[in-house]
Symmetry: C2
Subunit: 175 residues, 2 copies
């Protein structure tokens, strides 16, 4: 059965984007990332938010590099959670307006591989729904001080994680 | 010459305390930490904020465990940055009301060892003053969602770090 894995590049101080969703700080740090290369073959589908899909890829204007933020040229099925599907369909992309439906479709497409969740807001929704299985963080050597958090929950919460003995900061969400 | 090292235990999502400075989440995770044990002998002095010194130690009411949050029983000189020194002096503790003076005194006391900076606010002040040399983060396997950030700077900033090839997430602040 497919599992939901939220992966993100994060500044040391816990931000996955700067104020206003600015991803430009990340651009200079993008490059070969062996851990990401290892992960790609284990991903069967991507589940992303509209913002991650459409706006936050720092290379979105560069056809040769676009999609690197999604993991260096991965081209499998993508499911985008949005209430505002664009009028022109994108190849390989399915727009879904319901979380449970989007998760079910992505899991179906992923088979026994991971559904890679991208975007803090979708990840938060999956976590709140009890559907997020694992989290993998790549720490980028920079301090941002402010911005979009890896996982924001006003008022706080306390969700225990269990380290998985693999590369990077890889954890299982305890239930 | 002594260097200033900010060390902190941080939730995976970037918080060193919960909302309102709540450190209770950390208590259950306190225990043997080999990386901290390795660090202790390399620390010559502690530079902390009043809040870290007086209030945020989750074991402050337990004489046997108090100070563990400062690194498992380390008992060298401490310098506390505050405008409100308590009327009764504490052994080994010097209260200083000026950052530059506190840094100079802590460095003097530390000799060729590290000045260990504790507390997000003091760390932020040291960083802003160009005095912070290194940052070491211990990731605690928990998601807090909200709280006190490792390093908060409203509006954001972009401070480049250089990984140091030692244990944990240890970085040099690039200048």
């Amino acid at each position: 059965m497919s599992k939901l894995l939220y992966s993100a590049s994060m500044s040391l101080d816990g931000f996955i984007a700067g104020p206003g969703g600015d991803m430009s700080w990340l651009t200079e740090h993008l490059g070969p990332e062996p851990a990401v290369d290892d992960l790609i073959p284990r991903i069967g589908a991507i589940l992303a938010g509209k913002r991650t899909f459409g706006g936050d890829d720092p290379h979105r204007d560069d056809p040769e590099k676009a999609g690197q933020a999604f993991g260096g040229g991965w081209s499998g099925p993508q499911f985008v959670l949005t209430h505002h599907a664009p009028p022109v369909p994108a190849p390989g992309v399915t727009f879904v307006d319901d979380l449970a439906k989007a998760i079910a479709m992505a899991k179906g497409a992923a088979g026994d591989k991971y559904v890679n969740v991208l975007g803090a807001d979708v990840a938060r929704q999956c976590l709140a729904a009890g559907e997020l299985d694992e989290i993998l963080v790549f720490v980028v050597p920079v301090l941002l001080g402010d911005g979009v958090r890896l996982f924001g929950h006003p008022g706080g919460t306390n969700i225990r994680l269990e380290p998985i003995g693999e590369s990077g900061l890889w954890f299982r969400v305890a239930r």
